[in-house]
């Protein structure tokens, strides 16, 4: 394969990769937006719940003894169909109140611990686990010390539906955009490489005697080479004839 063909193929591969990257960027950006919108919708719920719990903590009761929190988490879950679970756990990572009452007393998953340890931004942390989204907040006492954590588990069903539809829409668009873009890039690349090697092809044609000398870097050289070849052939042939004539003389 000629090097110019290889480079044209590399340019096509780069263009194709960039197209897929663009599709990925649009998908990633809009999918993240859908996720952030879902999370934003529970901001209010999370804030209300946190303030209610913190108000009770502010009365001086240890978090584990505030029984009203169980009612609060159950009521919070009931207000939004996308909320799968609401949980309050201690700084040690033990579930204190949970809409799934059977889980009370159990330890939180390792991924939650990791998120709390290293991924808290503005008292908010989030984890994606088994397709669901867990959004949490730190609850603090009047001295600003963490007294526990709140976690709301959201269903990813709506996000998944949105993502599937988005993939279909982008694939359909890519199906006609990609061939056009690749064809245009191919035409441009072929034209450019044709332009860069035009004088080389002219040189070949001149050397083969198929084309009259033109202009450019190679034109003079080609004419010189052609003349030298013709002269050499003529000289050798004349010499051969002269040599043969020595016998006749």
């Amino acid at each position: 394969m000629a090097p110019s063909t290889r480079i044209i193929l590399a340019l096509m591969a780069t263009t194709a990769a960039a197209l897929f990257l663009c599709a990925g960027l649009v998908f990633g950006g809009l999918d993240r937006l859908a996720l952030r919108s879902s999370e934003a919708n529970i901001d209010f719920l999370l804030g209300q719940l946190r303030r209610s719990v913190e108000a009770n903590v502010g009365l001086g009761l240890p978090l584990a003894n505030i029984r009203v929190v169980q009612n609060l988490v159950e009521r919070a879950k009931a207000t939004d169909g996308r909320v799968l679970a609401v949980e309050v756990f201690s700084p040690a990572g033990v579930s204190l109140f949970n809409t799934d009452r059977g889980s009370i007393g159990e330890s939180i998953p390792a991924a939650w611990r990791s998120a709390i340890r290293s991924r808290i931004v503005g008292d908010r942390w989030r984890v994606e686990e088994l397709g669901d989204i867990i959004v949490g907040e730190v609850m603090r006492n009047d001295f600003g010390e963490p007294v526990g954590y709140l976690a709301v588990t959201l269903s990813s069903e709506a996000r998944d539906r949105h993502a599937e539809g988005l993939i279909v829409a982008l694939s359909a668009r890519l199906a006609w955009v990609a061939p056009i873009v690749l064809a245009a890039a191919l035409v441009m690349a072929v034209f450019m490489f044709d332009w860069t090697t035009r004088d080389i092809r002219q040189l070949a044609a001149q050397l083969l005697g198929r084309q009259a000398p033109g202009s450019g870097v190679f034109a003079g050289a080609a004419q010189g080479a052609r003349s030298a070849v013709d002269r050499a052939v003529r000289d050798f042939e004349r010499a051969a004839d002269d040599v043969m004539k020595t016998d006749e003389a």
Partner: protein, 607 residues
């Protein structure tokens, strides 16, 4: 260079780069339109739903007050309450509480409009107006537009670089060789062989020239046959004397290749370096594209065996150490280049991709170590068997590792996230493996000249802060969970390094000093300062590398040592609480003092 060929390199490169960038930008626009057509109604509905939930909850609170018999105009702090709700709910732009006659009791703004929630309790009536907005949408759109623009720019830059690289490293040498062959043929010397290629226009021209030479050879053969015939019947030597007289004018006039048969000759000697350089650049770029994620991923996996300052640094140190071992192993394995390259690339792909499934810190360190070893082995096996031009190779590696790789990584993370990016990078290495291994035979490695320096202290001093900046300060600073922003700082460093010519040591020290000041006095997380510091560090690195051009062994050792010290300093800074900028300032002072301390043989003449 042949006159007038410079424009034939940069013009096509720029044109192809621009066209590809424009095409990708257009494609990105059309793809975004398709995405928005699907997503906008869903997102608007989600925003309305969220705002409605807030409206219902807030209206419920006011209804409760009315139930308790508290008139709305007697409620205290309603304005502040509404503002707090609006501030805490991204999908709520404003709230207004109206009494039964429609007069505003409290509002976050004078002109709030939107969905109205009726409040009726305790015999009184009121209403709450909730304005739904989506600031998230505007932010997300801005980010998508920036990402798409960068993707178009990156595709254009890569296309232009590929074109320029091909034209400079393959097209131009072939063109010069062909012109030389044709020129010599014009002078009667038909021995010059034209090009390396086996197909394409250069090969066709070369064959045409070979066809011309063949005509001359045929005529010469005819003459030789005539001479042989005469010699066969020359019994007294008289004919021979006459023949010699005929042949005398031809002697030395024409030079023909001494070969049998009529096959087309191919050029001998070293093949053009382009193939080696782009392969090495791709390997370096794909390896470096993982760097922005390593510290972040390590911190997420976490470990109790190390202090927090070292959690993100240790995988990088392991990777660097094993990279050096890989380079040494690759040099030892010379002679089995193809197999070594293939094995190294497969290991690199698997080690990088497997991080996708990695949940354990220890395993992560092992995988990154494996990736480092494989990258070192692959690069040594690639570069140890050819004669790449050191300066062009350095520029290609800088471009791939410090410009393309961080931007590609940032965009990849925007598209598919950090964890899947490891998988994508590993998959890319495996997919490109057949092209990267190459088909060429092995050549003996060029031995460094006797007495050539083995270490360049100026490059090492410049590399120390660059390593801390690229591997730790940016990924765990402005680039933490914001890879595209971090990528910009590293790309600035790369561009500055590429653009910087040879510099006096004083200027290199001044650039390092400027970077130290910028990092020390700029507020934490300030993007502009980080970008400016990146550019200053790039100037220092680029100047040091340009000064040490032509001494690959000294530069390689200095880069490895500088990178290791930079990582240790970054970890130590976290552990002992000193500012990394102090270490950069120390490097700056040392760099400036270096010529005074030692008359290094590497000090460039004339600068």
């Amino acid at each position: 260079m042949i006159p007038a060929t410079r424009s034939k390199i940069w013009l096509p490169a720029a044109a192809i780069g621009l066209v590809v960038a424009a095409l990708i930008a257009l494609a990105g626009y059309f793809l975004l339109q398709a995405g928005l057509r699907h997503s906008t109604p869903i997102l608007q509905e989600a925003t309305r739903t969220g705002a409605a939930a807030v409206g219902e909850a807030v209206a419920g609170q006011f209804a409760r007050a009315l139930e308790l018999g508290i008139p709305l105009d007697k409620l205290v702090g309603v304005d502040a309450y509404l503002r707090r709700i609006a501030d805490g709910s991204p999908q709520v732009g404003g709230l207004a509480l109206l009494d039964g006659d429609g007069r505003i009791v409290a509002a976050t703004a004078p002109d709030v409009s939107g969905e109205t929630f009726e409040i009726a309790a305790g015999g009184a009536r009121a209403s709450l107006v909730v304005e739904a907005v989506s600031p998230l949408f505007e932010d997300a759109m801005r980010r998508i537009w920036i990402s798409l623009s960068l993707a178009a720019l990156l595709a254009g830059v890569i296309s232009a670089a590929l074109t320029a690289g091909y034209l400079r490293l393959s097209w131009q040498p072939s063109r010069e060789r062909l012109l030389r062959a044709v020129d010599r043929a014009g002078e009667g010397d038909f021995t010059e062989v034209a090009v390396f290629e086996t197909s394409g226009p250069f090969f066709a021209a070369s064959q045409a020239l070979a066809g011309c030479v063949e005509q001359v050879e045929a005529a010469r053969r005819k003459l030789a046959e005539a001479v042989a015939t005469i010699h066969a019947i020359d019994f007294d030597g008289s004919l021979g004397r006459r023949v010699d007289t005929i042949l005398q004018p031809l002697e030395g006039r024409y030079v023909l290749p001494d070969r049998g048969g009529d096959e087309t000759q191919r050029a001998e000697g070293p093949a053009p370096a382009g193939g080696l350089i782009w392969r090495a650049a791709v390997v370096a770029g794909l390896s470096a594209a993982a760097f922005p994620f390593v510290g972040n991923f390590a911190i997420d996996r976490g470990t109790t065996s190390l202090s927090a300052a070292w959690v993100g640094v240790v995988p990088l140190l392991a990777e660097l150490l094993l990279f050096v071992l890989g380079v040494l192993a690759g040099r030892v394995a010379a002679g089995r280049g193809g197999a070594v390259r293939a094995l190294a690339l497969i290991l690199l792909g698997l080690s990088t991709g497997a991080v996708f499934w990695c949940r354990d810190y220890g395993l992560f360190v092992v995988l990154r170590g494996g990736a480092g070893f494989a990258a070192g082995l692959a690069l040594a096996a690639l570069l140890g068997h050819g004669r790449a031009r050191p300066r062009v190779l350095t520029l290609a590696l800088l471009f791939a590792a410090l410009v393309v790789a961080p931007l590609f990584a940032g965009l990849l993370a925007e598209a598919i996230g950090r964890r899947a990016s490891f998988l994508a990078l590993g998959g890319l290495v495996l997919a490109l493996c057949p092209f990267l291994v190459g088909m060429g035979g092995d050549r003996a490695e060029e031995r460094p000249k006797a007495g050539a320096p083995w270490f360049d202290p100026a490059t090492a001093l410049a590399m120390v802060p660059v390593s801390a900046f690229v591997f730790v300060l940016i990924p765990l600073g402005i680039g933490y969970n914001n890879y595209l922003v971090g990528a910009g700082a590293v790309a600035m460093l790369g561009v500055a390094a590429l653009a910087t010519p040879r510099l006096p040591r004083l200027a290199i020290g001044a650039a390092l000093g400027a970077a130290a000041l910028l990092l020390h006095y700029a507020p934490g997380g300030d993007v502009v300062s980080a970008y400016a510091a990146g550019a200053a560090l790039g100037v220092a690195l680029g100047g040091a590398l340009a000064n040490a051009a032509g001494q690959p062994r000294a530069v390689s050792a200095a880069l490895a040592a500088g990178a290791a010290v930079g990582l240790l300093l970054a970890g130590g800074a976290g552990q002992f609480g000193f500012s990394p900028s102090l270490a950069i300032a120390a490097a700056a002072l040392l760099s400036m003092a270096l010529p005074l301390v030692t008359r290094s043989r590497l000090a460039p003449a004339g600068v």
